[in-house]
């Protein structure tokens, strides 16, 4: 038999035919056994080969000619190949070849020194990168051909750290897509591929001026404050780095807190001019202003949690109020004497009372799950808190992936829960086409004039107006508008309701009597993005998908609060309460989840489609766009440059190497992307579990901000990770370290 290949004739021997038949028989046996594993295929082939040795079979098959052998092989293998084709995803999953190409790319990227991590460069914030250049004594990094080279500081063991601030060092070039980073050492220069991302404008929650003439919302991604006035007048004011929140002490002035600039800045609303700046310690979070406009309270959200009280109009730091966990949402009660603060780490709301000139904590109410959002009554007598569950005993609910969206009404005077309204409505309506679920992921709450409560739902794309007197709910459907996944809302003096949609970069103005809100676009429309920036469009669709509720009422957002973590514990299927993980900084760190069971983020869509019963709305390429969104989330910021102790960190790097931490948490990503059996590291824990539990080696980048630690959150601090929870001394050879080396190691880990 002759076979034509590339213009040449190949002689195909009869022996080839026999081999083909043997393989076909092996396939046929495999198909009959129908086990989706390569080991089964292998054993089938070996069994057939053993049978091949029998004289009977050989006597039957040997007289056959090559053509007959080929035809017989095709006939025998066809059903098995058909079955294998249908079972290909199961086979690929079982043999762990899903995402293998991406894994190879990630491993190659980390192994080819000098290497750089993390691979994501976001244009909206300062970031810290690590370079592993074992033979180099000096390293410079250039993010794009036209960017200026940035000097990296040597930490030891070939590890270098480089700080990049797009405001100081220039925007990434190109702003989107693959960016070639140049790493320059004394041995030459190499190019490494990174992923550049330039987020679009994201208006979120509003602050409202005292007379409701203005409502403003910061866009952290684009460093601007968006101010909306009566008549849908929109001002876009450039502010400092990473605006988080705003507050109006009067109708002419708005104050903005900044996450990356450690400063408050006041702006004149009419002109947009920056008037005054107040530098404050640490990284700043949300804030609240007292009804009288004389006290401004800002949450400090770095390693030292506290509240910073600023006097107005003096604009001076008046007081530090210590907190045991970082403050999240803040609101004043009826006057400046009462201050309420929610915390995420321990899911509480705390009341502070002004005693003399100082705030003192007077009450604490456990919520069980942290506040998703908080709204204050106009008279300050109540606040509304949206949560995914309410557990005043703080014991975790052990229902599988339990989420129950609800609104709590609390009295500001004593923190008593006045009302608990379950918002998520799931019923048999889901089984009928065209039905939609309601009340998923409440994201913004505001009391309107007349006492009506307005609530936005990012999970089910709607706005509710709840009349407390009539117990009536008026619903505005936003599912097909550019205001889907709505967040903030505010009522202006002229009665207009302003909504924000961060995913779409839009504001909506809804006046009484209008059927639909008027949409104000702050970013390019989806149609324009489809032409000019398809990756940004993917992220936009993915962001909406992140907030979208499944039929079970659960969204990604439910646990991964605002794309970080809610610090609450969930039963993820094995009746153990396990804390949720942040979803930032995931690019290039596959496999995912604690047991490394998902090679790609997109594969997690399987959970939504099966366990959570899928989505009501169809979206093309849902899993891919969700992956695009999540992969573009930069990791939490490292410790600020000013707060670093370089000498201690350098000693910490030496201790890191001495304890063999680099074995798994390899430079520069601080992970080798590996999977290890739990017994290899924590034999005493593994012995308590049935079966074998595999552990993904997580990256240690930003680890200082992701407590609690280890696979079930059993270590509340990094010190507990390396000491109390390392009894077998297999999770790093910590016993070889002196006490001072351990301190240095912790300082280094905390700085990542």
């Amino acid at each position: 038999m002759l076979l034509r290949v590339d213009g040449r004739l190949l002689h195909v021997s009869r022996r080839f035919g026999q081999q083909l038949l043997l393989a076909a028989l092996g396939l046929a046996v495999w198909g009959a056994v129908a086990r989706p594993s390569l080991l089964a295929l292998l054993l089938s082939y070996v069994a057939v080969w053993v049978g091949w040795q029998l004289p009977v079979l050989r006597r039957v098959l040997e007289p056959l000619r090559l053509r007959q052998l080929v035809v017989l092989s095709v006939l025998l293998s066809a059903p098995a190949l058909s079955w294998a084709y249908r079972a290909r995803s199961r086979i690929a999953e079982r043999e762990n070849v899903v995402g293998l190409a991406a894994r190879l790319v990630d491993l190659w990227r980390l192994d080819a020194t000098p290497s750089i991590a993390p691979p994501l460069l976001s244009a909206d914030r300062p970031q810290t990168f690590f370079v592993h250049a074992p033979d180099a004594s000096s390293v410079h990094v250039q993010f794009g051909a036209k960017a200026r080279p940035l000097a990296a500081e040597a930490l030891g063991l070939g590890l270098f750290r480089v700080d990049y601030d797009p405001r100081r060092d220039g925007k990434p070039d190109p702003p989107e897509g693959v960016l070639r980073a140049l790493i320059l050492t004394e041995h030459g220069r190499v190019e490494r591929d990174m992923q550049a991302v330039t987020p679009l404008v994201h208006p979120r929650w509003f602050c409202v001026s005292p007379s409701a003439t203005w409502a403003a919302t910061p866009s952290e991604e684009t460093d601007e404050l968006i101010i909306v006035g009566s008549g849908a007048r929109v001002l876009r004011v450039p502010v400092g780095d990473g605006p988080v929140d705003c507050a109006f002490p009067d109708d002419d002035t708005v104050i903005v807190s900044h996450r990356f600039e450690s400063a408050l800045a006041s702006f004149n609303v009419a002109s947009g001019r920056r008037d005054r700046v107040l530098s404050l310690p640490g990284r700043l979070g949300r804030m609240a202003i007292s009804p009288e406009g004389t006290r401004l309270v800002v949450a400090r959200i770095d390693s030292q949690a506290e509240l910073l009280v600023v006097s107005w109009p003096e604009f001076e730091l008046a007081e530090h109020v210590p907190l045991s966990a970082a403050g999240d949402w803040l609101a004043f009660g009826a006057d400046r004497n009462t201050l309420l603060v929610t915390t995420r780490a321990d899911a509480t709301i705390r009341q502070f009372q002004l005693s003399g000139e100082h705030y003192q904590q007077t009450r604490l109410q456990k919520l069980g799950r942290p506040a998703v959002t908080l709204g204050r009554a106009r008279d300050g007598s109540r606040v509304w808190i949206a949560t995914t569950d309410y557990r005043p005993d703080a014991r975790p609910q052990l229902g599988n992936h339990f989420v129950q969206d609800q609104l709590l009404t609390l009295a500001t005077s004593d923190l008593k829960v006045l009302e608990r309204r379950l918002t998520a409505r799931r019923s048999e309506r889901q089984s009928k086409p065209g039905d939609v679920d309601r009340g998923g992921s409440p994201m913004g709450v505001a009391e309107l004039r007349g006492g009506t409560l307005a609530v936005t739902f990012a999970g089910t794309d709607e706005l509710w107006r709840i009349d407390p007197a009539a117990a009536d709910i008026e619903t505005l459907d936003l599912i097909d508008s550019e205001l889907n996944a709505p967040h903030g809302l505010a009522e202006l003096a002229d009665g207009a309701l302003v909504l924000s949609s961060p995913a779409n970069g839009t504001l909506g103005v809804w006046r009484p009597g209008w059927r639909q809100p008027n949409v104000l676009r702050l970013a390019a429309s989806s149609a324009a993005l489809r032409l000019n920036d398809p990756t940004a469009l993917e992220r936009r669709a993915g962001e909406r998908g992140f907030y979208e509720s499944t039929r079970s009422g659960i969204a990604c957002q439910s646990c991964h609060l605002h794309a970080t973590a809610d610090a609450a514990s969930y039963n993820l299927g094995n009746h153990r309460a396990i804390p949720s993980l942040p979803v930032t900084g995931l690019l290039g760190t596959a496999p995912y989840l604690r047991d490394g069971s998902y090679p790609r983020i997109r594969d997690l869509d399987e959970v939504a489609q099966t366990l959570y019963r899928g989505y009501l709305r169809h979206q093309a390429r849902r899993s891919q766009v969700l992956e695009a969104f999540v992969e573009a989330l930069p990791r939490a910021q490292s410790v600020a440059r000013s707060a670093r102790d370089l000498a201690a960190e350098r000693r910490g790097v030496q201790a890191f190497g001495k304890a063999h931490c680099t074995r798994c948490h390899a430079f520069p990503a601080f992970t080798n992307l590996g999977l290890l059996p739990m017994s290899a590291l924590f034999p005493e824990q593994a012995a308590l579990l049935p079966g074998v539990e595999m552990l993904d080696v997580p990256s240690l980048l930003s680890i200082g901000q992701t407590a609690p630690y280890l696979n079930d959150g059993r270590a509340p601090t990094l010190a507990a990770v390396i000491q109390e929870q390392n009894a077998a001394n297999l999770h790093g050879d910590v016993r070889s370290l002196s006490n001072s080396e351990r301190r240095d190691l912790l300082a280094f880990l905390g700085s990542l």
């Binding site: 040449r8 022996r15 026999q18 081999q19 043997l22 390569l38 080991l39 292998l42 082939y45 070996v46 080969w49 091949w52 040795q53 050989r58 043999e95 762990n96 070849v97 293998l100 894994r103 190879l104 491993l107 190659w108 192994d111 080819a112 063999h660 680099t662 074995r663 798994c664 080798n672 992307l673 590996g674 999977l675 290890l676 059996p677 739990m678 017994s679 290899a680 034999p683 593994a686 079966g691 074998v692 595999m694 080696v697 050879d733």
Partner: protein, 198 residues
């Protein structure tokens, strides 16, 4: 040199090489920056030795074909070398697995759970089958009529060994991929040489 001499010398060469390598691995263990213990370093080293021997064994036939196409009489050498490298690969893989099972207790527990261990086990099973059928006396005793169809599983073992390496947590990925690329390139020579052959 007679074929029997070739066989004897090659056997000594391969066994001696494996022994020397094992000794070196034991002595040079501190140079393995990822290794905690001698056992771990030795397990890794033996695994790599097995992989290199397997790749070299797969390269022997194409190189022999190439030499033959150039008029060299290299059949006896390459055939014997291929057999011995195969035996060495199986021996190293067996030692690698045995050491991992004995000295690294988690391997025993996780062998069917961890994907890298599962593929490694499958590859090892193939190599053991090939090892058993690599000795003429055993082949005769088992009444095996054609071993060649079974020994073509060496290519499957190669693929499984690489999957095993690529999923392993401590893999120098560049070395592994270069080795795979080299083996596949030399493997292609077989067809090129056959095309250009007399």
């Amino acid at each position: 040199m007679k074929p029997a001499d070739v066989s004897r010398w090659s056997a000594w060469l391969v066994c001696g090489g494996l022994g020397v390598q094992t000794g070196l691995l034991w002595l040079l263990y501190p140079g393995d920056r990822d290794a905690y213990t001698h056992a771990f370093a030795l397990t890794r080293g033996l695994g790599w030795s097995g992989l290199v021997a397997l790749c070299a064994g797969l390269c022997a036939t194409p190189l022999g074909t190439l030499l033959r196409s150039r008029g060299h009489a290299a059949d006896a050498w390459t055939r014997e070398l291929r057999r011995l490298l195969g035996i060495a690969a199986a021996g190293a893989a067996l030692a690698h697995a045995a050491l991992a099972f004995c000295a690294l207790p988690d391997t025993r527990n996780a062998v069917m759970e961890a994907p890298q261990l599962r593929t490694g086990l499958a590859g090892l099973l193939i190599l053991l089958l090939l090892l058993i059928t690599s000795f003429p006396r055993v082949v005769r005793a088992l009444h095996v009529r054609s071993w060649k169809e079974l020994h073509r599983l060496a290519y499957v073992a190669f693929a499984l060994a690489f999957l095993h390496v690529l999923h392993a947590p401590y893999v120098p990925i560049r070395s592994a991929l270069w080795l795979a690329a080299l083996t596949l390139s030399v493997g292609l020579l077989r067809f090129v040489a056959r095309q250009r052959g007399p």
